[in-house]
Amino acid sequence: MFRYQADKPIDRPRIVSVKAVEDESPIVRTIYFDDEKCSEALPGQFIMVWIPGVKELPISLSLPSKKGNSAITVKPIGPGTNALYNVKPGDKIGVRGPYGTPFQPTNGKVLIVGGGTGLAPLSLLCYKYISYYTHITVIVGARTSNQLLFIDKFQDILKGKGRIIVTTDDGSKGYRGFASEVAEKLIKTEDFDMVYTCGPELMMKAIFKASEERGVAIQASLERVMRCGFGICGSCCIDRYLVCKDGPVFNTHQLRIMQDELGVYSRDYSGRRVNIH
């Protein structure tokens, strides 16, 4: 119950210094910073990152702490992400959160499917919960070979406990085609205890459908326009859910309820529906 307390921490941007930046691919970069609350975040949770003078953006935490740091992984696709991509060590950014529901760990054999920067929260999931899994299959998908993310990192984490399957849309490395195509085949032919996915929504929708047909439980991390991050502005709604508060990680039951919207449309900043292609 909320009562005003002078010493209650207020959830507003905490200004932190960028400690390091690391290129993951020619177009994706990981940014490390110190923040105690962020370093305690669970896989799948996100933070609101303020680039002063530019914008505030929701971004998933991507890698485990490196000497006490937290990390986010960003691809420049607009003014906010461009500015964030270009920060240098020593630059100040604001962070608030972490927010949202995390991935739930499970015991047994799991399938992890990531497309593009969707691999970011999935890598933290792997680092954190590796001990729960008896066998892991990671599908790393990208448009083209130089956009593939975290392959070395996944190899390090897995340590013979599973396999990595690479897919590229143009066939420049690994399987030629979408990550979802490989995932659908595996779901049909193998027994998984859980499917985890994050990436383009049409990819996740296809994987959700395949999981439903096989009766496999799934957790998917979704993305929508966000303003507040804590369940009050409504910008990130999908059917009766809020991606910031009820998600970003949704389970099978929730995905079923939002099926009319999942992979069909999202909303822009005005709340207007925009078709997902």
Binding site: M1, F2, Y4, A6, K8, I10, D11, R12, P13, I15, M48, W50, P52, G53, K55, E56, L57, G80, K92, G94, R227, C228, F230, G231, I232, C233, G234, S235, C237, D239, R240, Y241, L242, K245, R267, D268, Y269, S270, G271, R272, R273
Partner: protein
């Protein structure tokens, strides 16, 4: 044995199973989401404010927490009336106690909005004459009694549905504004919208909100809002709906004693989630039983006698 108190209210023809409502601007325009708020216990819901055209709102950051509340400047983001009509058509809202908040910069814009929405199953309108951070609309119109009168009258002319006017605390004479709305034919007053406020980050020296200034909501403004409700309900004959910092059932009771026929809840959802409606309703119900009231209507304005 004490009987279960009657929580239902009817405000100028707008029926609700209980006196709690979702405040405007919170949780958006998605009908499935508004339905979820009703399932969580709310007696009624008010949509985000809808205008004639699409508005993106301001660049983020749009909201920031302060001690005892939040300061926000979303900037009246909304998909525009035509898109909103499509949103309404997607769902059956005939059983939903849903009020549409509308804003505009002229009588003509309000006319366009109401004439389009009047044909739908929405149950009434809340005129946003109080948004504190968008120029040319909201409080800029709502601080002029003549404009408040003219817009209310225009809206009444084109709809038989209940019309509530949400007024701003950022005005010189709120009683004059409330009377102007009453004279224009308003069926109720909603008091209050947020107070103009600002937050500066001391590390960077920058105002945090992209719009620099915004509106303060939450527990910080409750005593201010209670006083407005008390003042207005003693000076107009139409019902008043209280809004501003209602976080606990005690707050809701206080507003009703001050003269509110119903209460709107917004910021508390940030602290407690949608469970806040049930928590407040349970508290109200227990209070009424303890005080020997049979209906929530019995306590409205009780503090006026002192």
């Amino acid at each position: 044995m004490s009987s279960i108190p009657d929580l239902s209210v009817e405000i100028s023809g707008f029926k609700m199973k209980n006196p709690t409502m979702l405040a405007a601007g919170i949780l958006g325009v998605s009908i499935p989401l508004l339905r979820r708020v009703l399932e969580a216990g709310a007696g009624g819901v008010v949509t985000k404010s809808i205008g004639v055209g699409q508005r993106k709102g301001y660049e983020t950051p749009n909201i920031v927490e302060v001690s005892c509340g939040y300061v926000n400047a979303v900037g009246l983001s909304n998909p525009g009336i035509d898109e909103f009509l499509e949103e309404l058509q997607k769902s059956d809202i005939s059983d939903m106690p849903i009020i549409v908040s509308i804003f505009g910069k002229s009588e003509m814009e309000f006319f366009e909005l109401v004439s389009k929405l009047d044909k739908t199953d929405v149950k009434g309108f809340e005129l946003n004459l109080s948004c504190p951070h968008v120029s040319g609309v909201g409080a800029e119109i709502g601080s002029d009694p003549n404009m408040v009168y003219k817009i209310t009258k225009e809206v009444k002319r084109c709809s038989k549905k209940p019309i509530f006017v949400k007024i701003s605390p950022n005005v010189t004479d709120h009683i004059e504004i409330a009377r102007a709305a009453e004279d224009g034919g308003a069926d109720g007053i909603v008091a209050i919208n947020t107070l103009r406020a600002m937050v500066i980050d001391i590390e960077t020296g920058r105002p945090i909100l992209s719009n620099r200034v915004g509106g303060l909501s939450g527990p910080a403004i409750k005593p201010v809002a209670v006083r407005y409700v008390y003042d207005i309900s003693r000076n107009v004959k139409i019902p008043v709906i209280g809004c501003g910092g209602i976080n606990h059932w005690e707050d809701a009771i206080e507003f009703m004693l001050a003269g509110a026929s119903a209460v709107q809840i917004g910021t508390a959802i940030a602290y407690k989630g949608l469970n806040v409606f049930n928590e407040i309703l349970y508290g109200i119900s227990e209070y009424l039983k303890r005080k020997g009231h049979h209906s929530v209507k019995e306590i409205v304005g009780l503090s006026h006698k002192f």
